[in-house]
């Protein structure tokens, strides 16, 4: 697809009318035949080195099966399903964490060690590995490490592990389709920015500065070619 065709797709039906993009109002972006198809098939601007690295990382396996099981349990404790959106496992968070620890190896020892630390705690307290302990017993350990301001000093290793796990789980969840649904994220699509909605302005008691109102980008004239007078005043 050449650039012109691409532009044509973006702003349908304007090239023939003489003035580029004439009549391309706020509705126009809706017509964009732009359904990004991503994934293995496209290059998305990757260099050969990047493609190779991503493929290599994907082929490697870091977490053992037993570790993965623990991870699956923990991420759903951190981000459970609720009435807004699904759980961390439903959003694919464990796979994301698997990738990210390979991509950023400094996570590897803290994560592996932290998962192991849960077992040693469970052994010391209940005489069995973490995943064999009861739900209440597991939560007892988690409660001891999940609240950094209240945790006992001897729990600090567990606390820093859980902070890291909370970070990765949250970010993995909220950067997934499920997370975007949860946030009701509305961006990342062509649109016309015409300022903060009126009711939001009113709610926070804001008004636009009078002197700028005539200057601001106006959706009605945004398609006409810019022209200036000699003093730099926009006249078209």
């Amino acid at each position: 697809m050449n650039r012109r065709e691409n532009l044509k797709l973006l702003f349908t039906g304007s090239l023939a009318s003489g003035l580029f993009m004439t009549g391309c109002g706020p509705e126009a972006p809706k017509e964009i035949a732009h359904a990004p198809t991503i994934g293995e098939g496209t290059k998305w601007g990757r260099t050969p080195e990047e493609m190779m690295r991503n493929a290599e990382l994907k082929a490697e396996v870091f977490f053992r099966e037993d570790e993965m099981k623990k991870l699956n349990y923990l991420v759903d404790v951190i981000i459970p399903k609720d009435d807004v959106s699904g759980s961390a496992t439903e959003a694919g968070v464990p796979d994301f964490i698997e990738f990210i620890v390979k991509d950023m190896p400094y996570y590897q020892t803290p994560m592996r060690g932290g998962l192991m630390w849960l077992d040693t705690q469970a052994e010391d307290r209940f005489g069995k590995p973490f995943m064999e302990a009861s739900e209440d017993q597991r939560i007892e350990i988690i409660d001891d490490i999940a609240y950094p301001d209240k945790a006992k000093p001897e729990m600090s290793r567990g606390v820093s592990f859980f902070n890291t796990l909370r970070d990765l789980t949250s970010t993995g969840f909220f950067t997934s389709p499920e997370g975007f649904k949860d946030l009701d994220y509305k961006g990342n699509r062509p649109n016309v920015w015409d300022g903060v909605p009126d009711e939001v302005m009113a709610k926070h008691g804001f008004k636009l500065e009078e002197k700028y109102i005539p200057l601001y980008m106006n959706p009605d004239t945004r398609s006409t070619l810019a022209q200036w007078d000699d003093e730099g005043n926009l006249i078209g």
Binding site: P80, N163, R189
Partner: protein
Amino acid sequence: MSFQIKSPGEAYDVIIVGSGAGGGMASKILSEAGFSVAVVEAGGDFDPAKEEDRTQLRFPWESPRRGASTQNRPFGDFDAAIGGWDIDGEPYTKNDGTEFDWFRSRMVGGRTNHWGRISLRFGPNDFKRKNIDGLGDNWPIGYEDLKPYYDRVDKLIGVFGSKEGIYNEPDGFFLPPPKPRLHELFIKKGADKVNIPVMPSRLSILTKPINNERGACFFCNQCNRACQAYADFSAGTCLVKPAMKKGKVDLYTHAMVRKVTTNDKGMATGVSYISKVDMKEYKLKSRVVVLGASACESARIMLNSKSKVHPDGLSNGSGMIGRYLHDSTGSDRMGFIPDLVDRQKYNEDGVGGMHVYTPWWLDNSKLDFARGYHIEYWGGMSMPSYGFGFGMDTIRKHIKDEFGNPGPAGGYGAGLKKDIRRYFGSMVGMSGRGESIPRYENYCEIDNNTVDKYGIPVLKFNYTWSDQEIKQAKHMQDTFEEVLTNAGAVLFGEKAGPDSKYGLHAPGRIIHEVGTTRMGDDPKTSVVNSNCQAHECKNLFVVDGGPFVSQADKNPTWTILALAWRTSDYIVSELKKKNI
């Protein structure tokens, strides 16, 4: 792919090294004047309108690392610019006890594929700082010399903004600015209380079309990913490609220039480059050589171009090449606005940058440091990517529930999930970007012990900040605290103090490095003259940030573009007069 169009021996009128802001502008002006031009670029071709190059409008999950940065994309996996501070096989070194981080992009368009599009003219004072505070040097030219070129750049490339009539923030030919975002209104409210101006930003983004070749912005907030509609400025899409379409321009990619070749009179005869494709060396000939490889790289090429006539490097009799290297200062702060918790959701992307900013507003004669800074703002409901949701162990206690009770630090479960959801869009941040004092003692030179993978000797840096910059950073931190607090924000983290030089970033980190081939009337203290022509080699010109005498409290690129245009006009007239 590099392709050889000229047979060996046949010469171009002009060879331009590098296709970034400076090289791109030179390619356009010189080819339009009818000259044959070779653009020699170390990186590969790139065109964001090609589907296979597109990273724009992708969601974070389309990257396995959710948009996190990588070694060659330090600003995230979707960022258009390939390169970074640390490029495999292309090292640089530093003297002990000094710092410099060198950011490079290797591709057609250079760093303009990422850049923040903040497009500020230097003001009259910015060319004559020595007259004002006695420090550094004046430029041999003034605002009036560049004004006609700034005007042309505005019209050719497009920049939005508002006419404000501020003496040292000259107005231009502006496109309409976008209305402010909500967090920007909070910032404005805070800044108003302490008399700090906040006004529409000036970014080279087309809020209206300026010609039939580029589309208008559709507000995706992703200029750093490069725009498939060409609605933001990058040198590849707006200068080099159009020049190739219209004029006699050959683009050599993956071609790493090693040196400028010279004859026995010391005049430039062309360049030698290493093809990254076959790792062999090639030569190109021309009447004129224009360096636009970026300030430090152009200095490196000149220093590596030693000959009998130029034993210390090309046109380096003064020993000034590499000297006076300086970058902008930078320090940042962030916080969150409790009033924005639980905010209504709407598409707040806007253009790929801030909609408002603060130009330097104070009088340095009443302060304990010499030069000013501007403030850039960020925050709001921009698209979450890797890192969003981090830090709940410290942040969550600031998120109050509907009864006004603070959440626990950390935690897990439905409550945590809800708080992150409510917190989305409530962050704000600000970054000061300021003027440093150019100093002889800050420099880059050739490291005689190290070569890159192409066998080319690399640069060694020597750079330290002085008290001027450190005091300025302190002032930034105080200002940030004032503005954020008055905006109703809760500040995150500890205020940066003296042990971190008040959060002052290492030199190079702001990526405004300039000054390495500075201009001047006196060949003993400068490398090029006021037309960016090398003092000791009349057919060699520099069009990147190298010739800057001082980097103002503004971002440099609009001035690089204006200066490159002016230099190109001069080259045209000199070529026509057969002076070179």
